[in-house]
Each structure stands twice: as structure tokens, then as C-alpha cells.
Symmetry: C2
């Protein structure tokens, strides 16, 4: 049984609930409309045990090797933003989707769709970022493709990266493995990526620039797994739709409830300010260098400790726990002592954020 | 030493030779401008032994498994055309790039970039074609991504498919393995795909509709390998840039010459007619269901025989041979007894053909 969607539950404006006849921006939000598209059209067409898991990567076995396989298109605008650019994002995003299965990322494929008129200089800058990000993440870009579309039929550059990683442990990390009693861990502050993009688009000026948190998380994942082993049940990077949407997905897949504490969730001062000005809820704003981990209560402290030793997990915290009550529902105890339903975002807060 | 480019050598109009400051449609042609982009920007950034082979797929080894890995973006316009649509093309194209390494295609990832306003009905039709093509090719679509871009920032639908296949033989098929004395085999008629698209775009009417030849070639490849084994040196599907460009790429990579006979190259009557009307050379027109095989002279007849037994190779022929003379150059004996240089296409005959 799923809750009826009431606009006041959502972090964004009310949107029509009927199935549209056309694709709307909200279909790319990562929220309810995206899920609707996937469940109505994609899964019925291609249903198989790998795809149906709906994790951020497929895990397949070939000739005895256990591999993670994932793909993502990056269509972010603007292509250059404080803290990164589309090239860096395209490498880190796919590395992270591999890492969330506990895989060691190995090889990437990159397909570029260039718009006629793109400055060669901008292309070079993007490729240079990709090169540096791939080096940092220790992955090799081994194959690719380049297409060009007419002016006005693309938007400078779209990049699709696809990754292969090898899973060298026997554990199974998947969104359906959260169990009542598990702790919910968050690796750092939320909303940085989304608000960096949004502030640039809206021309907002703050005391300090908000920078995207784009980063490759495979090292942090390795540290968590080394410390907490099979106590780690789920790993997810809360990108489109933010931690609000990701927690709901895990709750739905595992048929559990989530109880989180607002006071434990770190939002930088400037991000909070930008969200207030723009009327956005940081729970639904995209991150590109953070992860959520669902870890058994026994292993949770060791996992947090390991995260604190890693530069990308210095501010890691336990933000709540998995509960048997209110299955498929995420409840948040607010700063002023109330309880709020954190529903999945319906449509689009921030279009083209990745 | 490469030949100077003279416009009269080319199948298309003269184009400027200077390096442009901006991306032009020709950068997506699969011809000289694409090669220039790859050699000036992509290879210097990412050079590694896998990528540097410049085959249509990378061959990597993971935990003892030998895998082929390839990616392609499909940006064809119109998205529906006689003989197929963008969905079918996106499956077959990536299956074929895997097959050209002799791999058995196993798993696909699909990333969709949808333009706001795309009719849901059109999306369904494309997904349905993808489903049927994947079933026919016996591959599983195991992971994916969906993004939406604003109206006017895309063109209905772009599809990037990435494939993994397993190589279960020990032979090494690569564009650098052509040797003097090898025979050049072509599996059927040329130009069908490109002229199907072009005729539809230009609104040309013929007695018979020209249909795209889009097809998955892995079965034909298996038949060739079973018959000719390690006598098979190179396999390539001549897509963008046609057989003219593909033969030049092989000649350049293997440092050999090619001598082909125009009279042996099959061009359907309607395709020939459409090419004449539009001033296009069928040698440079894209195919989506044909392959070129470079096979040792000893094994060539067995390979042709095996192709004739397969429905996609009924019209296979030997169209020429690899020679030690004129390295890196493809010469064609024409129907009227002359000899013509078949150079690489410089820019763009047919933009957005796949």
C-alpha cells in the first residue's frame, strides 16, 4: 500500500498526476515520474533478473568472473560549473555506480554526442577533465564513439559513460537487503552538487561559492567494506532526487521503514541559504560525491570509524535506522520535534542536474 | 606517407582542409575529420593499449575471461525509416561491433536521452523494436539510464548502447592483421541503409522502397569463424563512411594496399539510382547489416561458402585482395577498365546516418 501523494508532502510544487502523452522534464528527475516511466515501459519490454533488481548497476557472471556493469548519460547544463564539469562528472558518476556494488572499477567506454558549433577549446577542456578524473579513479577508458548532431539538435555535449568493474568479494550489496535494526549512514553534507549548478544558473551570489562535491567514491567504499564486511547491506549514491528519493527507493525495495533524524543531516550554510532563496528542499537535491550505507547495527560504528579515516568520509554520520514499522515509508524527526513524511519527489526540482 | 587529399578523389564536395575551431557535422562522418578529432584530442588524452588499437571494440581480460566491450551512440534522423528504426539499429549496431571481434554478444546497457515533448507512443515503438532486436540477437539488456533534455536541446531520442561479449576462441581479429595475399570478402550489397535514410529525408520516390539492411551479424560471424578459423584476419562492419572508408582504415592499420574490383561489388538497382540522383558514391554510403572480412587466400573459399549458407551472406563475394604494393592505399579497377583511388571520405556525405 503506498501513500496517496499530496503536494504538501513533496519538496516541490504540485504537478499533474495523470500519465502524460508526452515526455516531460520530470521523467528525467529520478523521482516518481522516472520510476513510472521505467515501470510502465522499460521493465515490461526488457524484464530479466539483472535489470529487475533496479540497482544502479547490473551484476553479471562471465566465465567465472563476477562483474558490475553500469551506464549513465550526462546532459548537465551548464557544462562547466564551480567544482567540476561534465567530463569529470561523467567519469566519477559511472565509477560510483560501479563502486556501489562493491566492485573495483576497471574499464570505461565513453560515447560523445557533440552539437555542431561546440568550441574545440571547450571539448578539449572536457576531455582533459575526463582524463584527470579517470587517472584519479584508476580506470582506463578503453573504447568510445563520437557523433555530431546539427546545431539546435543537441546542447554542446552529452556524454554517456559505461563501466565494467570486478567484484572480488562474495557479499551481495543490493537495495533489497535493508533489514529492521540496520543503521543508516551518510558520508557527508548534502545538496552541494545540485545547489552549485542551481546557483550558477540563477546567478545567485553568496559569501562563499557553492562547489559541486563530485568525487569518485570507490576508495571510500573499499574502506567501508574492509571495516564492516558483510555487515554492509546496501550502498547507494544519492544523485538525482537526493537522499529523500534514494531512501524511499531502498525502503520500497526492502519492504522496510526508515526513521531518520533531521538534526544529524549536514547541510552547509551556503547550501541551506540557496535552498531557502529558491524554495528547494535539500533532501531532494542531487549529490555527486556522497553515499548512503545501510549497515547492520553491529558493524555500523566500525563503518563510520573507517569513513572518518577517509578524506571523503570525514563528516560521516549515522542519520537514522531501518524499522519494521511503516514499511515503504521514510519518516524524519524534525529539528523542532515533529515528524515529517519524506516522500519520493514526484517530478522535477532541478532539471538536467547530471 | 599518406596521399594528399584532392577533392576529385572524394565521393563528396570539396571541404575546407584547415582545422576548424568548432565542431562541424563532418566530425561525425566516420571519415578523415572524425579520425583527425580522434588523433588530435581523444588518443592523446586517453592513450592506452586497448584504445590505441582503434578497433570497433576493446578486448580486455578480467579474471581469466576474455571480453569484448564496445559503445555507440545512435542519433539518426528520422528515427523511423524503411526497414527499421533507431531502436533496432541501436541493438544491432552494438551487437555487430562485438561480433566483429569474434565475441559472442551477451549483455547490453542502454542509455536514453529523450527530448521533452517526445510522444510516449513513439518511445513505446522504439522500445518495442529494441526488445525484439535484443531477443533476435539473444542478448540481455541488463542496465540502463534515462535522461530528459529541454525541448530544442535534443532531437526526439538519442540511444547509447554498450555491449559486453565473451571471446571463446584464441584468435585475434584486428584491423592490423591484413597481410598481402589475403582476400577481401564482402557479405552482400552496399549502400542500402544510407540510401534508405537519405531517400526518406529527400522525399525521393522509387519503384521499390529502399530498405535499411539493419541486422545482427553475430550468427554470420560464427559461421565464418567455424569455416575459416584463424584464416580470418580482420572483420569490420562498414557503417559510417561505407566500405571505402573501412577498407582505407584497414589498409592504414595493417600498412598494406588493397586492390578491389568494381564489377564484383553489388549495389542494388534502386540504391544506384538514388545515389546518382543525389550525387553520392555508394562506396561511402553506410551499411548496417554487412561485413567485410579479410581472410587468408587458403581459407577464403571456405569462408565464402559458409557465408552463402547463412541468410545474411547469400550474396557474399570476394571483391579483391590485399597487396604489398601501394601501402595504405585502396585502388579500384573500374567497370570501364580504369583504376581509381578510393580515398577516405573527408567530411560528411550523409550526416546523422546512425
Amino acid at each position: 500500500m503506498s501513500e496517496p501523494v499530496r503536494p504538501e508532502m513533496l519538496g516541490s510544487c504540485p504537478v499533474p498526476l495523470a500519465h502524460p502523452e508526452q515526455i516531460v522534464l520530470g521523467h528525467g528527475s529520478g523521482g516518481k515520474l522516472t520510476a513510472d516511466l521505467i515501470h510502465r515501459f522499460i521493465l515490461p519490454a526488457f524484464s530479466n533478473p539483472y535489470l529487475d533488481r533496479l540497482d544502479d548497476q547490473a551484476v553479471v557472471e562471465i566465465s567465472g568472473a563476477r562483474l558490475a556493469f553500469t551506464t549513465d548519460s550526462f546532459v548537465i547544463t551548464p557544462i562547466f560549473f564551480p567544482g567540476g564539469d561534465i567530463g569529470e562528472l561523467a567519469i566519477n558518476g559511472t565509477v560510483n555506480d560501479l563502486a556501489m556494488s562493491g566492485a573495483r572499477p576497471l574499464y570505461l567506454a565513453a560515447a560523445l554526442i557533440l552539437e555542431e558549433g561546440l568550441a574545440i577549446q571547450d571539448l578539449q577542456r572536457v576531455l582533459d577533465s575526463m582524463r584527470k578524473a579517470a587517472q584519479r579513479a584508476n580506470v582506463l577508458l578503453v573504447t568510445g564513439d563520437t557523433k555530431v548532431v546539427n546545431r539546435g539538435k543537441g546542447d554542446q555535449i552529452f556524454i554517456t559513460t559505461t563501466g565494467i568493474g570486478v567484484i572480488e568479494h562474495a557479499w551481495n550489496l543490493s537495495a533489497d537487503r535493508a533489514r529492521a535494526g540496520d543503521k543508516v549512514l551518510l558520508s557527508g553534507s548534502i545538496g552541494d552538487h545540485g545547489m552549485a549548478i542551481m546557483s550558477q544558473r540563477e546567478g545567485l551570489e553568496f559569501e562563499g561559492t557553492i562547489e559541486s562535491d563530485t568525487a569518485a567514491l570507490h576508495g571510500l567504499v573499499a574502506a567501508i567494506l574492509a571495516a564492516a564486511g558483510d555487515g554492509v547491506h546496501v550502498l547507494r549514491d544519492p544523485t538525482r532526487g537526493g537522499i529523500g528519493t534514494t531512501l524511499n527507493e531502498i525502503a520500497a525495495r526492502s519492504q522496510v521503514g526508515m526513521a531518520i533524524e533531521e538534526s544529524t543531516i549536514l547541510v552547509r550554510h551556503t547550501v541551506q541559504g540557496a535552498c531557502e532563496i529558491l524554495g528547494l528542499d535539500p533532501l531532494y537535491v542531487a549529490n555527486e560525491g556522497k553515499l548512503l550505507a545501510i549497515v547492520s547495527s553491529e558493524a555500523a560504528d566500525a563503518a563510520v570509524e573507517a569513513m572518518h579515516q577517509h578524506e571523503l568520509g570525514r563528516e560521516a554520520r549515522i542519520i537514522g535506522e531501518v524499522v519494521a514499522e511503516h514499511p515503504r515509508m521514510v519518516l524524519m524527526k524534525t529539528g523542532i520535534g515533529g515528524t515529517r513524511i519524506v516522500d519520493t519527489l514526484y517530478g522535477e526540482q532541478l532539471p538536467r542536474i547530471c
